[in-house]
């Protein structure tokens, strides 16, 4: 019985005992750095040698550069403890810190500086933008050159970079120096539109060709003229509005496709408009002649940039008069033929409008139609319009005719 109690007690004691963390013994371990060199060129084989009495298995060299950290294990070479840096550390320029550690203790630490290896060659990375600018003195494109050595390290600060730029006949050359990992140069816009080519070279390695396009600047005021085949308001011919060559302040013809809006104000103070886009600096806008006599005042605008002179165009009336025939109990109304200025039939599509009023002048409805082969026709159906007396007002080509008719029968 006693035995069992003892055993149980032992188990309880064991169960209750907790694991104590023992502080690590830090016996004095010494190491002496044998490598004194602390400046390297990228690509050099980097090794660090130390002398120590302690077994080397517990040593690690902790190395750290901008991209990461690594623990390097030592090798025994001629009685020295040697650590060799892997290439991704020995080829990266900048500071590289090292710490010799043993069992979590830092014994020695230091840093080495690795310089970019420009002797082996240079790679050029160029960034150019914006790729289109406007002519003048304000705009510019920026060329950023980030030369790197063969291991993709940015070259040393102050490395000279030659920038060349070509525009028309002139080729210019400039020298800039790398500052913050790169060099930069502002390619200023020219007064003439065209294409600027640039290139850069560093340590005799050229970059590719880069280009920016100088677009013409904003247009300046321009002139427009109107062309018409005759001045009759026949609703058929086309009025052409044409500009002279539109230019910017430096004499560059504006870019093709510049949108020009022609605003037309007629004698009833109503506005019409038409648009056109430039080709070779010239814009042409078109619009149909009116179908009744009119006086137009026309001006063209390039929104936000410039405007033209304003011109006047007058249209004579082409249709002098027309006839109206009533039939079928005055319900069928034939209008025409409408004849133009040479007694020819008017082109199809002249608008004819008829307003119907009651006997006492109350408005009932408006009917619209267009001419075909010079004539057109309205039929006032008895389903909609009861028998009775009506006032009819017919308008076509600016001529208004009024009738009072009694409708009856079919």
């Amino acid at each position: 019985m006693h035995k069992t109690i003892y055993i149980i007690l032992c188990f309880i004691m064991l169960g209750c005992s907790s694991k104590k963390e023992e502080p690590k013994k830090s016996a004095q371990i010494n190491a002496i750095a044998l490598t004194k060199k602390d400046r390297y060129t990228a690509g050099d084989a980097i090794t660090m040698a130390f002398k120590t009495e302690a077994p080397i298995e517990n040593f690690k060299l902790h190395i750290k550069n901008a991209y990461g950290t690594l623990l390097v294990a030592p090798e025994m070479v001629h009685g020295e403890m040697v650590f060799s840096f892997p290439t991704n550390f020995s080829r990266k320029s900048g500071l590289c810190r090292w710490k010799l550690i043993n069992e979590g203790q830092t014994l020695l630490k230091g840093e080495i500086e690795i310089h970019p290896n420009e002797q082996k060659g240079t790679n050029m990375a160029t960034y150019f933008g914006p790729r289109s600018i406007t002519a003048g003195d304000i705009d510019y494109s920026m060329l950023v050159i980030a030369p790197t050595d063969v291991f993709d390290n940015p070259v040393a600060r102050g490395t000279e970079v030659t920038v060349k730029s070509q525009f028309l006949a002139s080729i210019n050359e400039y020298k800039v120096a790398t500052t913050e990992l790169m060099a930069w140069y502002n390619v200023r816009s020219t007064h003439k539109s065209g294409r600027i080519l640039v290139t850069a070279a560093c340590n005799a390695t050229p970059s590719k060709e880069l280009t920016t396009i100088v677009f013409p600047s904003n247009s300046t005021s321009f002139k427009i003229t109107a062309f018409q085949d005759h001045d009759y308001a026949d609703g058929n011919q086309i009025l052409k509005l044409r500009s002279d060559i539109i230019k910017d302040e430096f004499g560059n013809t504006v870019s093709d496709g510049t949108l020009v809006t022609f605003i037309i104000k007629n004698d009833k103070d109503a506005y019409l408009y038409t648009v056109g886009t430039t080709i070779n600096g010239i814009v042409e806008g078109r619009t149909l002649h009116p179908s009744q006599a009119a006086h137009w005042n026309i001006q063209a605008f390039i929104t936000g940039a410039s405007e033209s002179n304003s011109i006047d165009v007058t249209f004579r009336t082409a249709i002098e008069d027309y006839k109206v025939y009533f039939s079928k109990g005055n319900r069928n109304i034939d209008i025409g033929p409408l004849e133009s200025f040479m007694k020819q039939l008017v082109p199809d599509g002249i608008l004819v409008q008829m307003d119907v009023f009651s006997e006492h002048g109350d408005f009932i409805e408006t009917k619209k139609t267009t001419t075909k082969k010079g004539v057109c026709n309205f039929y006032l159906s008895p389903e909609y319009l009861e028998n009775g007396t009506y006032k009819l007002v017919i308008r076509a080509a600016g001529i208004t005719k009024e009738f009072k008719k009694e409708m009856n029968g079919i």
Binding site: S18, K19, E21, K60, H62, K64, N65, A66, Y67, G68, T69, L70, L71, A73, P86, T87, N88, K92, S93, G94, L95, C96, R97, K99, I101, G104, T106, Y127, G129, P130, Y140, S141, M142, V144, A146, D152, N153, P154, T179, E180, L181, M182, W184, N186
Partner: protein, 512 residues
């Protein structure tokens, strides 16, 4: 009779089976219905942006944005900051898991190769890293006219890393490094093109000298109590926050002749890394009430937080920063208590991890608030020697036999480097029931205080007792579910749940 019984039995069986079959059918239809209605949420068709969890929030400040290229827009600077920190984050994760995941989003073709090489080597050596950066100080060197390239320096980046081989922590270090960075805008991401380590710049910012003497003097004379409202223990700033109740309690504490309280700020309750404004307002309200009642407040941070993982350091830092900045000028604030009983986590979370977190947090809080002392509420006099060189005063808790009190205190005092020592929690539960063999009672509690109070006053030990009220509820998170632990926690008060004075009150209160 037997026949009749049989008939009833049959009936019962038939009706019961009918009900059972119906129930089965209904539950079958129900689960089919549920199955057909589960799956992707319909809003997922819209491909709305999923809000990112806060995972990494180091401090970052841009000291200089003037540059010869082009003025940098606030929007762009924000995007660059985001992607730059993302680059650090994916790299930290990549080194932790030795996995390329995410690298290509934030590093250009030629830069990512270097990371891949490094990861491959670490994988070969069976090393992995827990890394984080705590602080960045950016200064723009150059921002190109077309807005697709930026060059900047990131000065004195505070980095912390732990190196593991397999499962074993091999080495940890905190260092400060500076970088020269070139980033390019590619496919809508700012990606790192060049990263070069450069010399650290000398930190020229002069910090105001710490001024904590007056507070330390107060601490030496502190006579206080750990405070939770009686209806909402461990949830002072919760939904049932009631300023009137707290004010009344503070009056009671003041009438007891005490001059201080210790209150707790819970990490999750306050919104983790993005501290909620309304919680801050409540905290300020409590401090206001304490001031009105002439009570000094020891504010314990990170209650119910127990992770300490390096990956979360930046998040806990933002949490503490927000709270410290919000109340550091409040006249009622006396001291910062970093964490309640962190020594209890040493075994489960790992000593290095907990101590590392405490050290950096202490450093930060001292930096953010130059005028209040910092302490850690260790759970025993033996644990209180941890970080004794870094705390401004030593705090410990004592719930053991009173007979050992003097001895343990004297041992601690020898190791405390002459810093003030506060008995930050102590007390005895008056619980007497089956879980402690009916040993506790109001009388025993009174005897306990009758014995310890004269001792503390005689030795001039500042004390904060546990606690004002008996509680009617104790969250499981406090002491776990075990009834013999939990039942004690209901009865530590000087006042009963109804506010009646228990016997111990007379022996504890200084003004009777």
């Amino acid at each position: 009779m037997a026949f009749k019984l049989n008939k009833t039995l049959y009936r019962t069986v038939i009706i019961a089976s009918f009900i059972a079959v119906n129930a089965l059918i209904i539950s079958g239809i129900g689960s089919a219905w549920v199955f057909l209605n589960t799956g992707a949420d319909r809003t997922s068709m819209l491909h709305l942006e999923v809000p990112m969890d806060e995972v990494y929030r180091p401090e970052i400040a841009w000291s200089n944005v003037d540059n010869p290229g082009r003025p940098i827009e606030e929007q762009t600077l924000g995007e660059i900051t985001n992607d730059y920190l993302n680059a650090w984050h994916v790299r930290n994760i990549a080194f932790k898991k030795n996995d390329y995941y995410g690298i290509k989003d934030f590093y250009t073709d030629s830069a990512r190769v270097r990371l891949y090489d490094n990861i491959d080597l670490n994988l070969k050596n069976n090393n992995w890293y827990k890394r984080t950066t705590l602080k960045h100080n950016g200064a723009i060197d150059f921002y190109s006219v077309d807005g697709t390239m930026v060059v900047f320096k990131d000065h004195n980046v505070v980095e912390y890393q732990e190196i593991y081989t397999g499962e074993e922590l091999l080495y940890k270090e905190k260092d400060t490094t500076s970088y020269h960075v070139m980033m390019l805008l590619e496919d809508g991401f700012w990606r790192i093109r060049h990263l070069k380590e450069i010399e650290n710049s000398r930190d020229t910012t002069t910090l105001a000298a710490r001024n904590i003497d007056a507070e330390l003097k107060k601490i030496e004379n502190l006579k206080g109590i750990n405070y939770y409202p009686k209806d909402t223990p461990w949830d002072t700033f919760g939904k049932r926050f009631d300023a009137t109740v707290i004010n009344d309690d503070f009056k009671i504490i003041h009438d007891m002749g005490l001059n201080g309280i210790r209150i707790f700020v819970q990490y999750e309750d306050f919104g983790k890394s993005t501290v909620k404004k309304d919680k801050i307002a409540l905290l300020k309200k409590v401090l206001d009430l304490a001031e009105e009642n002439k009570l000094d407040v020891i504010l314990t941070l990170f209650d119910f937080y127990g992770d300490y993982d390096v990956s979360n350091w930046t998040l806990t830092n933002r949490h503490a920063e927000a709270i410290v900045h919000a109340v550091k000028d409040h006249p009622a604030l006396l001291a910062w208590d970093l964490k309640n009983e962190p020594d209890l986590d040493l075994a489960s979370r790992g000593r290095e991890r907990v101590i590392g977190w405490l050290e950096q947090m202490m450093e930060n809080i001292k930096l953010w608030d130059r005028n209040h002392p910092v302490t850690i509420g260790w759970s025993s006099p033996e644990a209180a020697v941890e970080l004794v060189d870094q705390v401004d005063f030593v705090s410990y808790h004592y719930y053991r036999e009173l007979s050992d009190f003097n001895k343990t205190y004297d041992i601690l005092k020898k190791k405390a480097l002459n810093k003030p020592i506060m008995l930050q929690e102590y007390g005895l539960s008056s619980y007497g029931g089956i879980w402690n063999f009916y040993r506790g009672s109001d009388k025993r509690q009174a005897e306990y205080y009758a014995e310890i109070q004269p001792l503390l006053l005689k030795k001039n030990i500042p004390f904060v007792a546990w606690t004002l009220y008996d509680f009617s509820e104790v969250p499981t998170a406090v002491v776990g579910k075990l009834p013999w632990r939990k039942s004690k926690q209901y009865h530590f008060g000087f006042l009963t749940k109804r506010g009646k004075k228990k016997a111990a009150y007379e022996h504890f209160a200084l003004q009777k």
